[in-house]
């Protein structure tokens, strides 16, 4: 059974990159590649997003912003690092104010290599990200099922028992 119930929405942020990968991310949304036909929508609001597409090696000033966007996204969420500089720091790895790679700022699930990453590669990354999202949603669903079970087998009988005892008094 698929645990993904709705089309995945993504939020995109430029975490100190050169912009090359950012325009390729946007190119994915436009007629030649057109990921919107799969229901993937680029949203501006992190609170609506399931997937965080992020580029760049993050500098000191951008670090809190990247973290904040990540924290604002509801669970389950997937982070896709797009481009060589988001994966490892890339050409900017020894710049003085770059932390060198997105995974030093937030947990990354999928890495898309390339400088600049090609739209095909980005779409491939998103598809891989969907598998991760599915796993994470499954984990959340299993937890929810367990909680439900617990409610049925432990919580409700206890409450019923208490009520009976109250009534007897």
């Amino acid at each position: 059974m698929s645990y993904i119930k709705k089309s995945p929405w993504l939020v995109h942020y430029d975490g100190s990159s050169c912009n090359g990968c950012d325009i390729e991310v946007l190119a994915c949304l436009t007629p030649l590649y057109d990921v919107e036909r799969f229901g993937i929508v680029n949203t501006g609001n992190p609170k609506h997003a399931d997937i965080f597409l992020v580029t760049g090696g993050v500098n000191a000033q951008n670090l809190p912003v990247v973290k904040q966007i990540y924290e604002q996204m509801p669970e389950p969420k997937v982070v896709i690092a797009v481009g060589a500089c988001a994966c490892t720091g890339g050409v900017f790895h020894d710049c003085y104010n770059m932390i060198g790679g997105m995974d030093k700022a937030i947990p990354v699930d999928v890495y898309v290599p390339g400088c600049a990453a090609r739209p095909e590669a980005i779409i491939d990354g998103v598809v891989k990200g969907l598998a991760v999202l599915e796993e994470k949603q499954k984990a959340v669903a299993v937890l929810a099922e367990r909680a439900e079970e617990e409610r049925e087998t432990v919580l409700e009988p206890t409450v019923a028992m208490h009520k009976q005892q109250e009534a007897k008094k």
């Binding site: 100190s16 050169c18 912009n19 030649l32 500098n59």
Partner: protein, 361 residues
């Protein structure tokens, strides 16, 4: 008049592909003051010349910005060539001009799309980006890359374009021109676009000059500032070149200037193909940059970019400095935002065509 409120705009904002932060001080719906703060994409690329060899640095220069990447590679190479007194073959200059104008086409079409998106005209965004893909195809066919080409090097270019490919570029541009006609007619005659852009964010000729704005932003206010008509390399001098200008200085004028520049770029590429000289595409580079300095300019899609280099007889340069067009245009942006409506803020920001990665390096 009520109390003023401060609305933060950015760094993460749907209309901005790149992070910049503005504090907008509002009185009701009117912006009374806009305070920009930058630094979200500062990577310290200028400092990197101390760690990379001067020939290797061309790749870094290209990654200053992914949209005008070729121009930055060219500007840096040109500065080094000037410093080391290297004579670049004519054919290489013509090839560089072709690639530079192709980047201008893709950059302007990209801008049309983003500008339309800021207006809420989503289908125009899609349309413009569809046209842009044909340019990217040509770039990919001739260089192998889509946004970062890496064909420019110190002393010339890395790849030649065959006669067959040159002819194909011209025939494809002819076709594209017809489609751009449709796009231009749509934008210049659409009531809604007129209502949103005309008379909004106006910059007078005097302000444009005093605040030092560059590129299409300056040209839309009647300042005929375009370094392609100067003595700044490439094939522009031989092709004869006149900058596109307008006098209104509002968002609509800036839009119009960019649209007309699309046609101009197509004509320039055709001129290059017709007059393409034969010969070498690069000369070998020997030795290290001397202990001297050099300064040059390139007209990027967004305006004039200034390159300064200083050598010290070693493999690494001592200093590289780059002043980018967005940097120059931020001052005028702050001026434009004073007194505008909150709803017009995205339009106004987009019409200076901000490129924050360039601006902060």
């Amino acid at each position: 008049m009520g109390k003023s409120t401060v609305v933060p705009f950015g760094p993460q904002h749907p209309v901005l592909p790149e992070p910049i932060h503005l504090d907008l001080e509002l009185q009701d719906e009117k912006v009374v003051k806009a305070i920009p703060s930058i630094g979200y994409i500062h990577r310290g690329l200028e400092k990197l010349v101390e760690k990379r060899g001067f020939q290797e640095y061309v790749y870094i220069a290209e990654r200053v910005c992914g949209i005008c990447s070729f121009g930055h590679g060219w500007g840096y190479s040109k500065a080094i060539e000037g410093l080391m007194e290297i004579e670049v073959p004519r054919r290489a200059e013509y090839l560089r001009t072709i690639w530079h104008e192709l980047s201008r086409l893709h950059s302007h079409l990209l801008w049309v799309g983003l500008g339309a998106d800021a207006l809420g005209f989503e289908s125009l965004f899609m349309h413009a980006w569809r046209l842009r893909e044909t340019i990217l195809d040509m770039i990919e066919q001739t260089t192998g890359g889509r946004v970062i080409f890496s064909v420019c090097k110190v002393g010339g270019v890395r790849r030649d374009i065959s006669d067959h490919d040159l002819k194909e570029i011209v025939s494809r541009l002819e076709k594209l021109k017809k489609e751009i006609d449709g796009l231009t007619a749509l934008i210049l005659n659409d009531e809604t676009i007129h209502a949103r852009l005309k008379g909004v964010g106006t910059v007078s000729f005097e302000d444009a000059k005093a605040l030092g704005c560059v590129g299409p932003t300056a040209r839309a206010s009647g300042v005929p500032l375009d370094y392609r008509c100067g003595d700044e390399g490439g094939a522009y001098k031989e092709l004869g070149f006149k900058p596109v200008t307008d006098t209104a200085g509002d968002c609509f004028a800036r839009c119009k200037v960019r649209l007309l520049e699309l046609y101009q770029a197509i004509d320039l590429i055709k001129g290059c193909v017709e007059n393409m000289p034969a010969g070498e595409i690069a000369v070998p580079v020997k030795g290290f940059p001397p202990a001297a300095e050099y300064f040059t300019r390139v007209e990027q899609p967004r305006g004039e970019a200034v390159y300064y280099v200083k050598g010290n007889k070693t493999k690494n340069l001592e200093r590289f400095r780059l002043r980018t067009p967005t940097n120059a245009n931020l001052a005028v942006l702050v001026k434009m935002l004073q007194g505008c409506d909150l709803a017009d803020v995205p339009n106004i920001i987009l019409t200076i065509d901000p490129c924050i990665s360039c601006c902060e390096r």
